[in-house]
């Protein structure tokens, strides 16, 4: 309860009387009626009522909040979570949704920061950041009545508070604890999200042991270095003492706070908060007092001393509401300058921008076609063209996000896995600020995970083995991202064993993936590792060896229209390069014609084009057709036959062959003609068309008409081998 009231008091500070009108009031009141003294409830009810009627002044609200705090003042040690406000889910879905989003952000930042801390424990800013994140989560959870979250966040916060005040140094045991707590919170958040979306919430493991272990560390710290703690308390008291003579009206409150600090045994952190609060109030009085009294010496010291604790403690609390920044200087740094926008809105924006570009180009063509256009008009049109291009570029960039967070997620896994396997790995990240489409980033998460696991399990040798071959004990795993020729290249590089082409070849022979006299390039041999069920690992561990992972990688990357290159030297290490398009929303395509129809073939699946001659065509058993092209035989697919449409001509020499490739297979697609090459924005087709194989989507062409985008794999396998296989 005290927690909730503290939060409330802060809200009042920031927003004035409006804070009493917030939604959470109802739940606080409800709990208050059950658990708090009668005078508290009466006071609370009075304030809420006044606030609703809008007759409550900010001044009164502030006083009221202090009064409420005073009633509850001698704080019963809060680690025991009170029966928190049972917020009905359906009513507060919006609040909870915000909680989920915010908590997820905090948890990501916690993981990132804590791993930084492990590398360099002297990073005080990182401790503060982690502390703030936990504190925010605690505050939010408190409001929403998520007991488990609040209890765990509270304990960890206490622990971090010790760390922050240099009462304990951040060693790997503490990092483990914090990470475990973060993991638990993540599960809780996932459960809330599941409940929100109406699906069955996952089972949440018990937090008792986690709580107990954090608590025991806290107690150790507290009992072991009690002296330090009291010193800090004394320091706080001094600050207050300096203030006291000047700001007399507040002095009694301060006294209470200090006494509490001296008396209470359990949670040092809570008291400090109380002190901070009173200080904050004093600061205001102080400012007034200074103006009249003009006693520079004393106030200067106070002002120097006071803001620090206030800022650190108060800042995270302010997260639920945007706060005026002059009260908390630290807040400015924490505040993110981004706005959350629904993806559907972005898509809509993209649609409209696309239309604008089309309208603009039509206008442009019109002006070129007509003879007597004023020069001024032409100039303005050119200006419009520039603006539209810029707007389109902006709209595209909105979907982009940096790849950094994705890397960070894996950093934790590298740490866990390498430790479990007894390997020493130094993880290097590069190019974290490289931006890529959000959808791609999300889909990339899985393949990245598998490739890192693979590198850790198969690539990197145990320390003894490394030392034996003269490498340093510490292996290096490097993950980087960069832009290259309109693509994103993500590389995962280890300095481990490297791939053994002979071993892979033998294994593939054994499994019947290739045959004896098949000649394969090194790259082709390396790519065999992506075959489903392929594994050279002698034993299956819990991490990998089942031959599933790399298959998943291949599928995902193909789905993203990307490709993988492997570089490997036996004994030196392996590097995987994943080439990905910058965005999924736009593709380059060839616009082709068959009869009256226009289609777009994605350029990434086109290898070459040619005008065939009569002697290139061969028939197989009178029906299937093959094309002999530079010594290799490729199956011929006539698009009009697959789509049952009327072509301009059936004669092979009248048309054009497009050599398409998918999943390593090549075939020739026979079409009437080629219109050109164009960048198009992909638009999905309505569900009514989901039964049509061979269509990947649609796009609006330069003249405003629609072109259907072909799915090369779907076209080839129609009534073909896929049908037989199924």
């Amino acid at each position: 309860m005290l927690q909730a009231v503290d939060d409330l008091a802060l809200q009042v500070m920031l927003k004035g009387a409006a804070a009493f009108r917030s939604k959470a009031m109802a739940s606080i009141l409800e709990v208050a009626r059950k658990t708090s003294p009668a005078d508290f409830v009466v006071e609370m009810e009075r304030l809420v009522k006044l606030a609703k009627a809008k007759t409550l002044t900010d001044e009164d609200a502030r006083n009221g909040a202090s009064a409420l705090q005073a009633i509850l003042a001698p704080p019963p040690a809060p680690p025991v979570p009170e029966p928190a406000a049972p917020v009905p889910f359906e009513e507060d879905a919006e609040l909870l949704n915000d909680f989920v989003l915010e908590a997820e952000e905090h948890l990501t930042s916690i993981e990132e920061r804590i791993l930084q801390l492990e590398k360099d424990p002297s990073l005080t800013e990182a401790i503060h950041a982690v502390f703030r994140s936990f504190h925010s989560i605690k505050g939010l959870a408190g409001f929403l009545g998520l007991d488990g979250v609040q209890a765990v966040a509270h304990e960890v916060e206490t622990l971090l508070d010790h760390a922050r005040n240099a009462r304990v140094s951040v060693d790997s045991a503490i990092v483990d604890l914090v990470l475990e707590a973060a993991e638990y919170l993540k599960d809780e958040v996932a459960a809330v999200q599941a409940r929100l979306s109406g699906s069955l919430p996952p089972v949440i493991r018990n937090n008792v042991s986690l709580l107990a272990s954090v608590r025991s560390v806290n107690e150790e710290v507290q009992s072991g270095r009690r002296a330090v703690a009291t010193a800090a308390a004394a320091e706080a008291a001094t600050v207050v003492a300096v203030v006291a003579p000047v700001a007399e009206p507040v002095a009694p409150v301060v006294d209470t706070a200090v006494t509490t600090a001296d008396v209470s045994e359990s949670s040092f952190h809570e008291e400090e908060e109380v002190v901070a609060f009173t200080l904050d109030q004093e600061e205001e009085d102080q400012a007034a007092a200074t103006a009249i009294a003009a006693q520079p010496a004393v106030p200067v010291e106070v002002v120097k001393a006071a803001p620090a604790p206030v800022a650190v403690v108060a800042a995270p609390k302010a997260v639920p509401a945007p706060a005026p920044s002059q009260q908390e200087p630290m807040r400015v740094e924490v505040a993110s300058t981004s706005v959350r926008v629904e993806t559907s809105k972005l898509d809509r924006l993209m649609d409209m921008v696309g239309e604008m570009v089309i309208a603009q180009s039509i206008l442009m063509n019109l002006s070129r076609a007509s003879a007597n256009v004023e020069t001024r008009m032409a100039g303005e049109l050119a200006q419009l063209a520039r603006i539209t291009t810029e707007v389109q570029r902006c709209a595209m960039s909105m979907r982009m996000m940096p790849i950094g967070p994705l890397f960070q997620k894996n950093a934790k896994m590298v740490r866990d896995l390498s430790r479990r396997n007894g390997k020493k790995v130094n993880l290097e990240l590069a190019g974290e600020s490289t931006e890529l489409d959000k959808t791609i980033a999300e889909e990339l998460a899985d393949p990245l995970l598998h490739m890192i696991r693979n590198a850790l399990d198969h690539g990197i040798e145990p320390p003894q083995e490394r030392l034996a071959v003269g490498k340093s004990e510490m292996a290096t795993l490097k993950i980087s991202a960069e832009h290259e020729a309109g693509q994103i290249v993500v590389s995962i590089s280890d300095d481990g064993r490297g791939l053994n082409p002979d071993k892979i070849r033998n294994k593939a022979l054994e499994r019947g993936l290739i045959d004896e006299n098949q000649h394969l390039s090194e790259q082709e041999i390396f790519h065999l590792i992506f075959a489903p069920g392929f594994s050279t690992a002698e034993k299956i561990t819990d991490i990998s060896g089942r031959g599933v992972g790399m298959d998943v990688v291949r599928q995902h990357v193909e789905h993203l229209r990307g490709r993988i290159l492997i570089e490997s030297e036996l004994g030196k290490g392996t590097t995987f390069y994943i080439h990905l398009p910058l965005t999924l929303a736009i593709i380059e395509g060839l616009v082709i014609v068959v009869g009256d129809h226009r289609y777009i073939i994605p350029l990434f699946s086109v290898r070459e084009m040619c005008r065939p001659t009569e002697d290139m065509l061969f028939t197989v058993q009178g029906q299937d057709e093959m094309i002999l092209m530079r010594g290799s035989l490729l199956p011929l697919v006539r698009l009009h036959r697959r789509f049952y449409i009327e072509p301009k001509s059936e004669t092979i020499t009248d048309g054009l062959l497009v050599v398409c490739e998918f999943a390593g297979k090549r075939f020739c697609l026979f079409v009437d003609d080629l219109l050109g090459r164009q960048e198009v924005v992909i638009k999905s087709l309505d569900e009514a068309f989901k039964s049509v194989r061979g269509l990947a989507g649609s796009a609006i062409l330069g003249d405003g008409r629609i072109g259907l985008i072909l799915d090369v794999a779907g076209i080839f396998s129609q009534n073909g081998f896929e049908g037989l296989a199924a």
């Binding site: 409209m352 009514a688 068309f689 049509v692 061979g694 609006i700 259907l708």
Partner: protein, 173 residues
């Protein structure tokens, strides 16, 4: 308490307004028959335009059009209901309706021979679709309204455009 009562009246007013517009139907013709669709479900009415055909679809699905950057399917209702196919004239138009899809709302264009008016048809004036004794239900039909001595067939557009529905409007012949 006060606030609650205000909210209740507010809801009532909104419900009343809602009911008012729910009664409004757009009347359009397919051949000789007249049909009605709830105005609430209609996004807009546009003139006939070039439709890009999609291969391997049943004949009533004419293809897709570009509705200001959105690609939406277009269905010829005459063909869908197995009525006599109509020539497209200057009166032919596409009624863009909003219906429920598997992944949220979707827009579909329905080709009609011409729209005539918007009529307010009270619930009480709507009769259940008659039993023609052939045992076939008429799932697309929400009811039949008689206005000024003429019959208007009121369609349930969500049923009409359900992706999995392949049944014809069986009473047409």
């Amino acid at each position: 308490m006060e606030i609650q009562s205000i909210q209740t009246t507010g809801t009532n007013a909104a419900a009343a307004a809602h009911r008012g517009s729910a009664d409004k139907h757009l009347i359009f013709s397919l051949g000789k028959e007249e049909f009605g669709i709830q105005v609430l479900a209609i996004k807009e009415i546009i003139g006939m335009q070039e439709v890009t055909p999609v291969p391997k679809m049943p004949s009533h699905i004419k293809g897709v059009i570009n509705l200001r950057g959105q690609v939406i399917p277009v269905v010829d209702l005459s063909l869908k209901f197995m009525l006599t196919p109509q020539e497209y004239t200057y009166r032919t138009c596409i009624i863009v309706v909003r219906t429920r899809g598997a992944n949220g709302d979707r827009l579909i264009g329905a080709i009609a021979d011409g729209v005539s008016e918007v009529l307010t048809i009270a619930q009480g004036d709507i009769e259940d679709s008659p039993d023609f004794g052939n045992g076939n239900p008429t799932p697309y039909l929400k009811g039949i309204a008689k206005v000024h001595g003429k019959v208007k067939l009121l369609l349930d557009i969500h049923e009409v455009f359900r992706t999995d529905s392949v049944v014809g409007l069986n009473f047409s012949n």
